[in-house]
């Protein structure tokens, strides 16, 4: 059966074609675009203009750094909220685990943008949250959350929370429950069992969750445009504007690659810091 030898290759072929068509080709196209000069009217000439990158970084370094900062803050919020949720579902969910997971995923059945817009109603200056607090005199009349950095970070965290909960849940769920008993058996109280055993064992899930929230939140533009104010522009908004409003494709492509590069560097140093073993465990 000589064709058996080829079976694995035949099976991975669609994946490779997919990758080539929808990843390699566009990335290559974008790369070449980032090194062109011109405009839509005169056309874009392949001039290998590296200056696009310098221009992108020098003009938009503030938005780039802000995006990474907001992404990091949103990721931390996601950990703080998502870990307890995943923990509770995995260990206390009982027979209703899938129901709770569905509830976590439920917002995903609604359009991303619409979900974000709904936060405007919640966070409105006189809305359902702030209104009553102001009526009770607990907050000053002029207090606002919407159109600020916290609003953007909260929006990001809200929108990407499931990406944190699910991988942590997956690790906790398949964790040997006897590990916790073993910790108690070896005189650990609940706090120690969590800090010494559950948390470290679930770190690969946290690691995956961080990747799955930090990357998309850093590159997001919807939250900043819907919930942001005058000084909360993220790099995604800039890219969107450069593409769609200005048709400045070379700059847009350059910023995209700068962002991609920064994220990759970040991910690899993060992986290095956590130890490659951890990363492998995630993929195992």
């Amino acid at each position: 059966m000589s064709n058996r030898k080829f079976t694995p290759y035949v099976l991975v072929l669609p994946a490779w074609v997919w990758l080539a068509l929808f990843f390699v080709v566009p990335i290559g196209g974008m790369l070449s675009l980032s090194l062109t000069t011109g405009n839509v009217v005169t056309g874009f000439q392949q001039t290998f203009e590296v200056g696009n990158y310098a221009a992108a970084v020098s003009t938009y370094w503030e938005q780039i750094l802000r995006s990474l900062l907001y992404g990091a803050c949103a990721t931390l919020v996601c950990i703080a909220l998502g870990y307890p949720m995943a923990y509770w579902i995995a260990f206390r969910g009982g027979a209703h685990k899938s129901t709770y997971l569905l509830l976590i995923l439920l917002p995903f059945f609604v359009s991303f943008v619409l979900r974000t817009i709904s936060w405007r109603f919640f966070l409105s200056d006189n809305g359902v949250v702030l209104g009553p607090l102001k009526d009770l005199g607990l907050l000053p009349e002029g207090f606002a959350v919407l159109n600020s950095a916290p609003a953007v970070v909260l929006g990001l965290a809200y929108n990407f929370l499931p990406f944190m909960v699910l991988p942590i849940y997956a690790v906790l769920e398949r964790m040997d429950p006897y590990l916790v008993e073993a910790a108690h058996d070896l005189y650990a109280d609940r706090v120690q069992a969590f800090v010494r055993v559950i948390l470290p064992v679930s770190l690969p899930g946290v690691f995956a969750g961080v990747l799955m929230t930090f990357i998309p939140t850093s590159a997001d533009y919807v939250n900043a445009s819907v919930l942001g104010g005058t000084h909360n522009t993220m790099i995604g908004n800039v890219i969107q504007t450069q593409y769609l409003v200005n048709n400045n494709y070379p700059i847009a492509a350059s910023i995209t690659f700068v962002l991609m590069g920064l994220l990759l560097v970040g991910i690899f140093s993060y992986a290095r810091a956590l130890g490659t073993e951890r990363v492998m465990e995630v993929h195992a």
Binding site: D176, L179, E181, A182, D185, L186, Y187, V197, L203
Partner: protein, 384 residues
């Protein structure tokens, strides 16, 4: 079911505080679980006294309540009724981390993110034992389980047997008043299991700590234990030394569960010269030395006799013995012995193990008429 211990527990090792009374005692312990609308009594009234330094096994099929019983000793489950005492102290309701017992889990439950040494040191660190002492005790314990050279490895880098020994070391290093082992060898292959049985026994002798051992493997229990409690349906069917349980099963369940046993239906007839005559099969006579308390003449009983106690021959045997004729239906050559299946009539079959002491010649071929005989002291009557 009074405990009838035959083996003296060994003297406690230096370091353990000798105290009066049993190491562990269970008093009328019941554990019921609710599953849906039903309440299941997993443990249904267990009384046990486990002596200091004893190797004590809870033996039974899965679902018999042995693991639940052990988990109540460890503190992972609270009894629905009854009292658990450790060293005479009532620990019912006391959390696992406040009990001076340690457990070896069936899955080992080694902490995957820690080295072998850190795994073993875990309990000592929680007890805030001084660093130097931790290092010393961990080293000594790893030497005891012959894993000193693996101290820095992760559990995932060890073989199953090595992981098993780490789990053992991790529990033993705390010098608990009792060590609880939940099917610890279940995941190992046969050869490794056998050598670990020997190893466990050696370690237990060296440290002198009370071992409570949960297993469904009767061979394992018989080999290692000082005493065995055979459990079924949440109750202890029989408690005793391995030989006693094997030789004198107290119930049909025990007879059936421990080793291979022939169970032959019969009717008690007369008492002649201190021996009871029991009519079995198609009128053949078997002898037993004693009857269960409630049984008298005319009662239907079950006779038990171990296959290796039965002699097989073509001649009718002489002397004070049960003598039953039959026809060979199957012979299986096993190397050290030959197994015979003999039809004794009345729908009964008896298994016979014959040692091949003098070569491999068959005593009888299939279809041949034979006589079976066994001494009365190796046969017991159990109420039907």
């Amino acid at each position: 079911m009074a405990p009838t211990s035959t083996t003296q527990p060994e003297a406690p090792a230096a370091g353990t505080v000798p105290a009066a009374g049993p190491a562990i005692s269970l008093d009328g312990v019941v554990k019921s679980f609710r599953t849906g609308s039903e309440t299941v009594r997993a443990v249904d009234g267990v009384d046990l006294e486990i002596e200091r330094g004893e190797f004590f096994s809870l033996l039974g099929p899965s679902g018999c309540g042995k693991t639940t019983t052990m988990r109540m000793i460890a503190g992972f489950e609270d009894p629905t009724e009854g009292v658990v005492r450790l060293d005479g102290r009532d620990v019912t309701g006391v959390a696992a981390n406040h009990r001076d017992v340690n457990m070896v889990f069936q899955s080992y439950a080694l902490f995957p993110h820690m080295s072998v040494a850190d795994n073993v040191a875990f309990g000592l660190r929680r007890k805030r034992v001084p660093k130097a002492e931790i290092t010393r005790r961990v080293g000594r314990m790893l030497d005891l389980v012959e894993l000193g050279h693996r101290a820095k490895h992760r559990p995932s880098q060890l073989s199953g047997g090595q992981q098993q020994r780490v789990a053992l070391a991790r529990a033993l290093v705390n010098e608990p008043s009792a060590l609880l082992l939940d099917e610890p060898l279940g995941a190992l292959d046969l050869k490794l299991r056998q050598s670990m049985q020997v190893e466990l026994k050696r370690i237990q002798r060296e440290v002198g700590i009370t071992f409570v051992y949960v297993t469904h493997d009767q061979g394992e229990a018989l080999t290692m234990s000082d005493r065995i409690a055979v459990m079924n349906n949440g109750v202890v069917e029989q408690l005793g030394a391995p030989a006693e349980i094997y030789e004198r099963p107290a119930t049909r369940f025990v007879a059936d569960f421990i080793g291979t046993s022939n169970l032959v239906r019969g009717v008690v007839r007369t008492n002649a010269g201190g021996l009871w005559k029991v009519e079995v099969a198609d009128g053949a006579t078997a002898l037993v030395a004693e009857l269960p308390g409630s049984v008298t003449t005319g009662a239907h009983i079950h006779l038990t006799v171990r296959p290796e106690k039965v002699r097989i021959g073509t001649e009718q045997p002489e002397g004070e013995a049960s003598r039953v004729p039959g026809t060979v239906t199957e012979t299986v050559y096993m190397g050290a012995a030959t197994h015979y299946q003999v039809d004794i009539g009345g729908g009964e079959e008896v298994t016979v193990y014959q040692q091949n002491a003098s070569g491999s010649t068959l005593v009888a071929e299939r279809g041949e008429r034979v006589w079976l005989s066994w001494p009365p002291e190796h046969s017991y009557a159990l109420p039907s």
